[in-house]
Symmetry: D2
Subunit: 329 residues, 4 copies
Amino acid sequence: MLIGFGLIGAGRIGQLHADNIVANPRAKLVTVSDAFAEPAEALAAKTGAEVSSVEEMLRRDDVQAVFVASSTDTHADFIEAGARAGKAVFCEKPVDMDAERIRSCLKVVEEFGQPLMIGFNRRFDPNFAALQRRLSEGEIGEVEIVTIQSRDPSPPPVSYIERSGGLFRDMMIHDLDMARFLLGEEPVSIYATGSALVDPAIGEAGDVDTAIAVLKTASGKVCQISNSRRATYGYDQRIEVHGSKGMLRAGNIHETTVEVATSAGFRADPVQHFFLERYMNAYRDELNAFIDVVEKGVVPAPNGYDGLMAQALADAATESLKTGVPVHL
Amino acid sequence: MLIGFGLIGAGRIGQLHADNIVANPRAKLVTVSDAFAEPAEALAAKTGAEVSSVEEMLRRDDVQAVFVASSTDTHADFIEAGARAGKAVFCEKPVDMDAERIRSCLKVVEEFGQPLMIGFNRRFDPNFAALQRRLSEGEIGEVEIVTIQSRDPSPPPVSYIERSGGLFRDMMIHDLDMARFLLGEEPVSIYATGSALVDPAIGEAGDVDTAIAVLKTASGKVCQISNSRRATYGYDQRIEVHGSKGMLRAGNIHETTVEVATSAGFRADPVQHFFLERYMNAYRDELNAFIDVVEKGVVPAPNGYDGLMAQALADAATESLKTGVPVHL
Amino acid sequence: MLIGFGLIGAGRIGQLHADNIVANPRAKLVTVSDAFAEPAEALAAKTGAEVSSVEEMLRRDDVQAVFVASSTDTHADFIEAGARAGKAVFCEKPVDMDAERIRSCLKVVEEFGQPLMIGFNRRFDPNFAALQRRLSEGEIGEVEIVTIQSRDPSPPPVSYIERSGGLFRDMMIHDLDMARFLLGEEPVSIYATGSALVDPAIGEAGDVDTAIAVLKTASGKVCQISNSRRATYGYDQRIEVHGSKGMLRAGNIHETTVEVATSAGFRADPVQHFFLERYMNAYRDELNAFIDVVEKGVVPAPNGYDGLMAQALADAATESLKTGVPVHL
Amino acid sequence: MLIGFGLIGAGRIGQLHADNIVANPRAKLVTVSDAFAEPAEALAAKTGAEVSSVEEMLRRDDVQAVFVASSTDTHADFIEAGARAGKAVFCEKPVDMDAERIRSCLKVVEEFGQPLMIGFNRRFDPNFAALQRRLSEGEIGEVEIVTIQSRDPSPPPVSYIERSGGLFRDMMIHDLDMARFLLGEEPVSIYATGSALVDPAIGEAGDVDTAIAVLKTASGKVCQISNSRRATYGYDQRIEVHGSKGMLRAGNIHETTVEVATSAGFRADPVQHFFLERYMNAYRDELNAFIDVVEKGVVPAPNGYDGLMAQALADAATESLKTGVPVHL
């Protein structure tokens, strides 16, 4: 039997998930809800789903799973509502900008015993997922140094920056989750620094656009993360892990495999620019993992606790940037 | 308005095209026909199309385009029937194993003035297509040497080999079409040689599994093609063009971007093994090109003449292998 | 006329410099001095130079340039003696382990007006030198993030570690100099952390073998350095600079260009293991730069001030490791 | 005891070998001879060797090995003279432009029982040598297809072309020797074709500048070679061997490891342009191999027979180009 999905949020990311649900042979998109009628109706028309309110959605017996892709400030409420209604919930990151609110939300989820999975999509990128799997199989021995380079093609508008919670909560949070995923241990300290080098207006808005963080675990493993809001050559997403027996790394995909050689040298294409293109397979595999949770009772990963920890690390990095000293967790 | 498609042939390649037609926002799969009822019905059930005979399909007004993916010996007949019925026709390669039959078929197509496009899918691989476009824009000046390496992961069963028309008509024909695509001139001579090194049974069946061909055009451009029926490291499909101002090349895609470094060196993944995975985007773009033909009156490429010429080159290569001397065209 | 060289120190690194002096068409090795008679005599016999005391060497008119490759604790004294004797001096890094001693030494050098060049050889690696030149020419706009990965193939014996001044002064000092070279601005803060993950005995000796440092300049440029005393796949020395208009990077050289592809994937050789092999060309070009100083009056770079600043950064990193907070310079 | 060398020929390639002999710890350059006094005296002055006639050289007891680097038309005579005088002989390729003259020369060498080694330097390129060694160790099973790409940076003057014996004898002969080295079997047929695409004056001189050859052995292994007299991006020298268990390849070395990434893509340096730079290590290792022949009685490889076979293949390729059909050997 197909898993019936209710989708909350019909914006760009909601549409992406809707396409994946429709294409998935184990899933069916039953209803779509959005704060605005128009995008919900357009998405329903395209996919054959119904439009409904969230309340109606949660009452339906043919909806087993709720996909939360609405605005961040509604996430925790919808997660709780979904859990109370006995639905499995998938929620885009972050659960909330406030770690306390996340904690109270997770308590509700726990109380109602429903599975919750959080959308740290990069864990499902086939390259990063393969790297982590090989790491966990011991291919390079013990992890010693994790290096994460993450650079967006271009900065968002300052109006977005102002509502974003800052680079560490908006952008680096993905890398902080990846750091936990790869280190296999909780970080016990984080030092962060940064500058506004890409756009002075970002600095005037109180944020940075260029940042470095250093994490350390209790056993001494270290992780360095660097972020930039600009990369002229594409969406730059690279991971390298140095271990006791070797190194594993995973990188970017060029737009094509074409290379030209002239007297100016050998030139390859830029790397893929658009995050929806780069992480297309990640979103598809993420959905499959969630369907395994709903269908087979697999323990969700990343779960609400992962969402909480990433947010706590982002908060700590933000504090370290302000105070100039490492924060101990 | 959506272009209505009738699909003839519901086997593996027909199913692939059906999926692409369904996913294409400009196309609609109206009817499916197959010599056997079961696969046609299964495909119709999955896609929402009807099952019909070819005769019914060709009578329908809501079918503007016919997609021929049936067995090779039926291609020419269905092309003719489609053209007579006033339909645009897309046909999987080859039109026919006999160049004379291709010629008579093309005459019918010409008489009824309908567009015909032939499924040399590799021209639509985004990497090869980008290479050819940049070549035609003069990025490396005049073409001088075209090098095509094409190796299958593993040989087909001998029973297939026996019906295949031989390596040149079954496998190298793709590379011969690519050679014409890249040389930008017709070859005037071809020399081919080969051996059965992969599987002695292939030699016993009168065929080769390892082959090299050398083509030359009137202006002196040269092309070398090498084929093997086996490649342990994936489906190996590479093109390199040496020109007066430089070199352009396009290659394979590794299964992931993960690389491991140990005392044994640096190891990357094998390249993609399966032709449906490697050429997934090629099939999608090929369909779009055909829809442009139907919808906008774009001149089809590759067309029936390209199908004829590739077959003629494959015949000539087969003759060269037998006689031991180059064949002049 | 050939520049006459006096070489102080006939150990491994002195022998390397002697070979380069002999092979250099602008230089002549006149005398060799060493605390022990045997290595000096062996080197003299091999190269045709004389053996002399440092005092005799400095009195000779046919010695214009002194090359100091003796033990670290003698560097500052020999630099001063050379400068007093009116010789141009090249000294292996570091000038001294004590920044105060470096300062007093540089005062003597300044007083006698003789050129002093310091052996930060990596600046002369053809790859890193080309990267820095292209950076300074503005090829990628303004520098924003410098990333330096530096990993030795295997750790030195603990007896060496104990006398080394610690990882930051012994190993990372090269990367700290490279950071200054590439940032084009002085760092104003440095944060360092590390662990003993490679060999517990290194931790027991009070040092680390795995370390990360983060530097920041007044204008907000950042640099991250990571070090490990172990790399199974060779001597790993990579630089990447992210700028406002793009990225420049330079990497390792594999032992050969051979690559093998099998069902296990594509495997390239390890990278060169031995620092004398990896930096062979750097030592040669470094000598040429020093000969330009002596012969043409080119301003030496890196000079004594560079030696002082690298040592000051290494001291600050060592302090940061101990205190757990960044050090402001 | 050092092996005493007499060098015949003080031109560019003679100077290179002289430098290598001087730098080699097992060799001593005793005398230099040249048809012209000036280059011989200049080389002697630089290296400390004496100038002598060939007759004097061959009479000296302190000369055990003769290095022939004179003009091609003198090779066979000097080889014979050296052998008669009881010297081990190293001769630059080719022994002679006439296969019959080579045969008579080899008879004299055989009669006097002296070792003869021929300067097919590419066999000693560390990359190609490693590839061949791994091939012979069975790393990729049985050889099936050898692909050799060889392109010079720019064509020689037509005056040189006219005296060269044509592309196959002047340029492809290196690749033909490499084909034998890698195939591990003698070719039984060769087909060659070509054009003058780089410079029409080369065509007017009766030669080609763009060529392809296909070789086949008795057991069915095949080899394709392509040559061009022009490559804008450097001296292009690549080998790829496809075997029953995988593929081995070896390629070019870029001028530096620096790579720049911008919105135009990722650009690496051209590959090394100059053959003396590209094959610097090959010449050094070739000399060591010859010293092993003289000092330890190692059987010389490549030897006179290899010189004869490469010349015979070059003759056959030239004939195939003229007749348009394969030549059987």
